[in-house]
């Protein structure tokens, strides 16, 4: 089945079975191997991508449900060979060790900072609770995300503002 979507700003069409996992489509069809597979059941967050502006586990998205969507993967975070400011903070703070969880952590952090540009430690912990890391003990990751919100950090303007205010308008 032909499925079309925009990934990291480029329009793509792939020929895959409709229940193929978006994770496999990204990795195997499009060779975007920055998105990792950990548990394959929505528990670990290694396969996190942004789907229509929302953080999702790509292992749980059937390809058909991504038809027409706009997707951002870890490869889409950097521009022109330049790391995204969140990635730079991860590097500065020593927030990566083996690196398997890092792409998902960066995307979860991106989603969090869009919702809460100045997150509390509680919001950081909740925002990253779906992303498991078996190396760092999390503290340096939390510190990196907190550093993104410090005055003067370039991560303050990430585009696509996501109003954190409560609203009753859904499904738009």
């Amino acid at each position: 089945m032909a499925i079309s979507f925009t990934v990291n700003g480029e329009k793509k069409t792939v020929e895959v079975p409709p229940v193929s996992r978006l994770l496999d489509v990204l990795r195997e069809e499009l060779h975007l191997t920055g998105t990792k597979e950990g548990c394959g059941e929505g528990e670990c967050g290694s396969c996190s991508v942004m789907l229509n502006g929302e953080l999702v586990n790509s292992c749980l998205v059937p390809a058909l449900q991504a038809d027409g969507a706009t997707i951002c993967t870890i490869e889409g975070m950097s521009a022109g060979g330049e790391m995204h400011p969140i990635q730079k903070k991860f590097l500065e703070c020593g927030a990566a060790q083996c690196g398997i969880c890092t792409p998902g952590m960066v995307l979860a952090a991106h989603h969090l900072l869009q919702k809460y540009p100045q997150p509390t430690m509680e919001q950081i912990r909740e925002g990253l609770a779906g992303n498991l890391c078996r190396c760092t003990g999390y503290q340096r990751i939390f510190e990196a995300v907190a550093a993104c919100a410090e005055p003067g950090s370039q991560t303050q303007d990430l585009g696509h503002p996501h109003p954190a205010a409560v609203t009753d308008e859904v499904g738009k």
């Binding site: 229940v19 292992c59 859904v170």
Partner: protein
């Protein structure tokens, strides 16, 4: 072992009407998939028996929260993130807002839907205790028409629901009479984030002086399906919340639950802890009137 994805068919009708027509033409043939947070897990571990899937994911008719004077209606395709953003739910139905925050991770809340959670019908699901305590009604649709039933009649046994093979859950309606109620809920899991509950309890109550005027209690992982704890409620309605009343409520609750031993906990632990939680809620309820 992982499933072979080439063996599965999936269609994505553009309207609810088209989905219902497909369900009517081949009742029971298609398994509905909303956010995929359950079905895709089953697919991943090779346990998805249904070979034909019908995606409800993009249906706008199923994703809404509307408030009228007397009630709030939530479309079955509303995500837990949508629920957490709703002002009216946060203000008047905090037990549901809390349950939404317990459901998986942020990524899962962005995809998982209230309707999916109910239709999947796990006895451990997070949203049922709140909906039971709030006297929710559910609207069920098919090509044959529409019917509304109390949510407390929706679950029929372990992973069994009142839905016929050609029916879909359309929406859940909550009466807006709980704003001034004492409301408490608690989930006991292995860790705070995205654990499946060992047990959960939700309670909404109103006092008349020092007596319990109204009380509704919903629970998860206490039986083979989510339950309203009617015996405990009966033991409390009209009573003063003294030590004797609390003891008899615990006893009544113990008599209406049948928690099991499984990978997450033991029946003995569950029975004891849910009694402790009920007792704690009742002590707080009593204190709220002093």
């Amino acid at each position: 072992m992982r499933s072979n994805v080439t063996e599965y068919e999936m269609i994505a009708p553009r309207t609810l009407e088209a989905a219902l027509q497909t369900m009517a033409a081949q009742p029971g043939e298609y398994l509905p998939v909303a956010g995929g947070t359950e079905v895709m897990v089953m697919l991943g571990v090779g346990k998805l028996a249904a070979k034909k899937l019908i995606s409800l994911g993009g249906l706008k008719e199923l994703r809404f929260i509307t408030a009228s004077e007397g009630s709030v209606t939530i479309g079955a395709g509303t995500t837990f993130t949508d629920i957490r953003k709703s002002k009216v739910i946060a203000e008047e139905f905090p037990l549901l807002a809390m349950a939404a925050s317990w459901t998986g991770s942020i990524a899962n809340q962005n995809r998982g839907t209230l309707g999916g959670n109910l239709v999947n019908a796990s006895p451990a699901a997070d949203s049922p205790p709140a909906l039971l305590a709030y006297d929710a009604q559910v609207e069920i649709v098919s090509a044959r028409g529409v019917r509304t039933i109390p949510y407390c009649e929706f679950h029929k046994g372990y992973k069994k629901t009142a839905l016929a093979a050609d029916e879909l859950l359309r929406c859940i309606t909550l009466p807006r009479r709980f704003a001034g109620y004492f409301q408490r809920s608690r989930k006991v899991g292995t860790r705070n984030a995205q654990a499946i509950s060992k047990i959960a309890l939700a309670l909404a109550a109103k006092m008349d002086g020092d007596r319990v005027a109204e009380i509704a209690i919903g629970g998860a992982s206490l039986r083979e399906m989510p339950i309203r704890c009617y015996a405990a409620e009966s033991a409390l309605r009209g009573q003063k919340l003294d030590a004797a009343a609390i003891t008899s409520a615990r006893k009544a609750l113990e008599g209406e639950i049948a928690p099991i031993d499984d990978i997450r906990s033991t029946g003995k632990y569950r029975a004891h802890v849910v009694g402790n939680i009920l007792e704690e809620f009742l002590r707080e309820l009593a204190a709220s009137e002093e």
